[in-house]
Amino acid sequence: DAGITQSPRHKVTETGTPVTLRCHQTENHRYMYWYRQDPGHGLRLIHYSYGVKDTDKGEVSDGYSVSRSKTEDFLLTLESATSSQTSVYFCATQTPSGALTGELFFGEGSRLTVL
């Protein structure tokens, strides 16, 4: 299994506060992704990165920003959390060769509750 660690695993915060979720990988996978998973919607792509300082928006990027200053770390920031951002967030990685076929390796998820 790819070594993917998400932190924190659980967080409760209040509306309007900033939140940063961290994804750390030890596999040197070049591509990294942030998804959110909600009942009735499945997994939806928020942002992705194809390398250090190379990021782009996914399907549901509004209200989120990302940064990737090192290959192993991909940060997801909610500048001002809203209740609609209550969700389970998954980080995923992918090797360049894997990108031809797209196999993703997922972290264990971060459950965020915005009150």
Binding site: R44, G107, G109
Partner: protein
């Protein structure tokens, strides 16, 4: 835009039977399609990939088919076991991209 439909939210099946899960898509046919397994409280885990020029792929008790005419993939688990109980997700890339779009998943329960 492309849509994925996994047409059963939940599927209950008796142990030992074959479970069949369906993934349908609209518009263009993807170059490949993947299936993942997700257990409660865990991240999805990759199971199988099938390319558009492959009709069938097998891995142990798992079998995936890909019918570009019907715009459908079927995922079979033969001789199902209670340990196969999980949510199964299908996914494929968007046109001209690597990013995967996921279906909502089908929750399979194998009853002893």
């Amino acid at each position: 835009s492309q849509k994925i439909e996994q047409n059963s939210e939940a599927l209950n099946i008796q142990e030992g039977k074959t479970a069949t899960l369906t993934c349908n898509y609209t518009n263009y046919s993807p170059a490949y399609l993947q299936w993942y397994r997700q257990d409660p409280g865990r991240g999805p885990v990759f199971l199988l990939l099938i390319r558009e020029n492959e009709k069938e792929k097998r891995k142990e008790r798992l079998k995936v088919t890909f019918d570009t005419t019907l715009k459908q993939s079927l995922f079979h688990i033969t001789a199902s076991q209670p340990a196969d109980s999980a949510t199964y997700l299908c996914a494929f890339p968007g046109a001209g991209s690597y990013q995967l779009t996921f279906g909502k998943g089908t929750k399979l329960s194998v009853i002893p």
